[in-house]
Point group: C2
Chain length 558, copies 2
């Protein structure tokens, strides 16, 4: 099968038969040497078969004056954060040049366990996008939270490795577990020691970082400081520069990416919402930004393709060369990463039949009852307050009076049917004039219901709205719903396509501004306030977590 | 086992226990970013465990002012060409900084088949040198020759893959077989399609090169022209720059190796004799030369380590970082690659117990009878003459009179017991004043007996000497043996160690000069005159091979 395909492709390369598609007068990037080469690119059976002149073709495109680069590879993405199912996600990102995505279905896995991972593996079989699946290592992320899946052990993950789109072990967030030799963590590290293991170690430095790398972990996408990223790189962790909708590291990390380092650096979006994909872009946005910040464009395009493919051992993906999958981005201008056309798996994107996305098998995953407003009252007086900053998922912390200006209420409600009371605390940063409530069923990583607000009645009503819709976002002010976006698939994803979700999200953003919210992306930012693997202070359904000390603490300050 | 080792190493990295060895004040090359970093390097259980300050150690070395680089990796070597068994080979190359060698036991495999490959796999288990074995793909190299092993089919090779030191399929030299879909060749390509497959395609260009790359072949060490090498690189073949004892490509190819290309370029010695290893060096000689030729030293050291390790999927080899095998070269001067000390697998080379090499299991492999002098008479008159050039394994060709000045006789005698008569032809290039005979049982790749001479009696006597000694080299002049080096192990290797072989070889070189031979390295150069996969004209036991036309031709010119 493989042999007959290769022999046919060889004959095409040798000029015995016409190729399917010829890009005439292509100036393409040789990612191996970072030179631009002008020739013809011949495509057959989904692969580049030759980069030579004089071949026959069934279809030709003249690409004279354009720059051709390999399709972009997102080194680490939670597709769920696009709020789109994979079939709709590809429709949003393929036109941007992203042709491979290495996803971690960590969100859906927390909601529904192994079946959440299997959903993405199955979806990957039906996409034009080359979707690779890292198997979620930290479900739940910590013991400080309740998720829907319980603990996913090594024994649950290893059978999934057999799938041809499964790549390795996804981001290992439990840094203390790694360093202290935690059995459950090490069972997974052992099980995947012959494969690739992604890391997640924000702010980790020095000998603790050395010990973490020793464990066999070989990447990190959580660097937020340049010297931190350089240290990780030097200790053998590939650095994925992330620019999500909230976590934005490109400005700080761009100087790391040079011609010299480009083979060990990549780009990722991690969590990027569909509005940002539509308005700013996807990987193209990161590449454009990197070049604008002074990164040599050849280094940027290599980092966006070959470097990541090599790291993950993707065979014959990530370069324009004979035998490689014909994922090609035709650029009107390489300097600004202006995407004219995309060829994915040898097909012009416009000719691809991208079917409607499958949304089978989902029911309402919200099994909570909205609490009474009184139940959302936190302790009064001097309290530990989470301080959120625009565009960062790392939080700061302060001790303030619970009634201080700009301090809002924050509650997390367990949603998997345990019936626990909400955990209540405080947050600063949504704005001094913020008034009302914003609730979300997206609450990393266990995806309990999280609500920020100034009025417990609005907060309770917003939670009730989520319970009814099966999840999503809801904005309440003075007892009136002023915006909502249902995400009924696992409480994370919409059944609709990107344009629909983008419009709804744009409306929500405007509504949040009208409520006095000062954060540009309040929804994902809210969603990260419950993630206890990112410093420094977070709130889960079990209470307030001091991430640095890695323990639950009282909301009341001593 | 692995887990307990890693947990112990982590504790050492975290400072709980002392490490085995600490390199204090090390300035080492971070091959990921090509920066030099000054810190301490901590080694435990054979691995680097930390690159951090302040760790305890059982033993410390101050390396202030030195440069530390990862141990060098020879990307492609036939150990047999060193005339040393693996245990003696490591004693010759480890002090030069070569700590990993990717070998192809192609020579011994041609002589004795699968057992020749198994000999190297078994040897690899007992070495400090990290010896990896590519499984020989072309035994015999062509059908134009008789070897001792017969045809090694895919089914003979695949069981060998299970050995932990077996890496993939060695150099696929049968280019026409690849391009024409030859079943035997493609059975091997198929069997190794999930692994790494080395190439060998001298002078191949254009769409034929594209087709060759399509077959899944991912490296070539046979480039002799800069634009040829650049084209191979762009078509997805990693380029190994070779500097052997005969084939010397460094001067021409050095400009290919830049910071930009360094992740896809490496160095190899292919065939290097022990005298050159002793007098010039091994990988250190190539690195030194590359830097002298203008290659940025950081790019040279990366190409000599990480790039090759990544290409072959060697996990945690080829860099100085936590978890990597502690193969470290301490340089007095990085610019001249002056090796002060070598640490291999965490041990200082001086402390290593390098046992005497095993030479069990070999008998006399020469099963030929020396022919009578008359049998070595070639056709007279206008003949096709092989033209050999100093330092090149590619030959030229001329039509000359058999008695022309500077034309010597060349014969190849099948040595595996078939009793065939010798094949006789002519060669130019050994020198106008060359007189006598040089015979060798090293005759790539089938290792029949090859003899060059001006006098058929000397030639017959030299062959008789090889038959008696079990192989090696023999120099005869006027009926007197003026030098010989027995290589009784497969007719390829000595049982003695490097210093002994070096001295004997030096004596042979001097003797060959006294015979009027003008070639600096006549022995390996002679050995390559029977290799019909290297253009353009070669002599095997079956006759004269026109390599370009890939057919046997008459010695008499039309």
């Amino acid at each position: 099968m493989q042999r007959s395909r290769l022999l046919r492709q060889m004959d095409v390369a040798l000029g015995k038969y016409p190729c399917d598609l010829l890009l005439r007068d292509a100036t393409y990037l040789d990612v191996f040497s970072l030179r631009w080469i002008t020739t013809d690119i011949a495509v057959c059976d989904g692969h580049v078969v030759a980069v030579d002149r004089g071949l026959k073709a069934n279809q030709e495109i003249s690409v004279k004056g354009k720059s051709i680069v390999p399709g972009f590879i997102d080194a680490h993405v939670h597709v769920e954060s696009s709020m789109l199912v994979p079939g709709n996600f590809q429709k949003a990102v393929l036109p941007r040049g992203t042709t491979t995505a290495i996803c971690d279905p960590h969100e859906l896995a927390n909601v529904q366990g192994v079946s959440g991972i299997e959903y993405f593996l199955k979806a990957s079989e039906q996409l034009e996008l080359d979707l690779r699946v890292m198997l979620s290592s930290c479900v739940p992320a910590t013991d400080f939270e309740t998720n829907g899946a319980g603990h996913l052990a090594a024994s649950a993950l290893t059978p999934l490795r057999r799938h041809h789109k499964a790549l390795g072990l996804a981001e290992v967030m439990n840094v203390p577990g790694v360093l202290q030799g935690d059995t459950e963590v090490w069972d997974k590290l052992d099980a995947f020691s012959d494969g690739v293991i992604d890391g997640h170690c924000p702010l980790l430095r020095g000998s603790a970082l050395s010990a973490y790398a020793l464990a066999g972990i070989s990447s990190c996408h959580e660097s937020t400081q340049l010297d931190e990223a350089a240290e990780k790189l030097s200790k053998g962790l590939a650095v994925w520069i992330r620019e999500g909708s909230v976590a934005k590291d490109l400005n700080v990390l761009a100087p790391l990416l040079t011609v010299a380092s480009s083979a060990a650096v990549g780009f990722c979006t991690d969590d990027r919402n569909p509005l940002d994909i539509a308005t700013e872009g996807h990987l193209d946005f990161l590449i454009r930004g990197a070049i604008r910040l002074g990164v040599p464009k050849e280094a940027a395009y290599r980092a966006a393709s070959w470097s990541v493919a090599r790291h993950y051992g993707l065979k014959r993906v990530g370069a324009i060369a004979p035998g490689y999958r014909a994922d090609l981005v035709i650029l009107g201008d390489a300097e600004t990463c202006a995407v004219d056309e995309v060829i994915v798996g040898g097909k012009r994107l416009g000719d691809c039949d991208l079917p409607s996305a499958s949304i089978d098998g989902f029911g309402n995953s919200i099994r909570a009852k909205a609490p009474a407003p009184e139940a959302l009252q936190g302790p009064q007086g001097r309290v530990h307050v989470i301080v959120v900053r625009d565009g960062r998922i790392l939080t700061d912390r302060l001790v303030l009076d619970s009634l201080a200006k700009g301090v809002a209420r924050l509650s997390v409600l367990e949603r998997y049917g345990k019936g626990s009371p909400p955990a209540n605390a405080y947050v600063q940063g949504f704005g001094e004039n913020f008034r009302g409530a914003i609730a979300s069923s997206v609450g990393h990583d266990s995806h309990n219901l999280i609500v920020v607000g100034t009025d417990t009645r609005d907060m309770a009503m917003a939670l009730e709205c989520l319970v009814q819709s099966g999840g999503g976002y809801c904005l309440m002010q003075d007892g009136i719903e002023i915006g909502s976006l249902p995400l009924p698939l696992g409480g994370l994803m919409s059944a609709h396509d990107a344009p629909h979700v983008q419009i709804e999200l744009a409306k929500l953003r405007m509504a949040s501004k009208q409520m006095g919210c000062e954060l540009k992306e309040p929804f994902l930012q809210l969603a990260f306030l419950s993630l206890p693997v990112i410093p420094t202070l977070k709130l889960t359904d079990k209470g307030l977590v001091d991430v640095d000390a890695f323990k639950l603490i009282d909301v009341r300050a001593a």
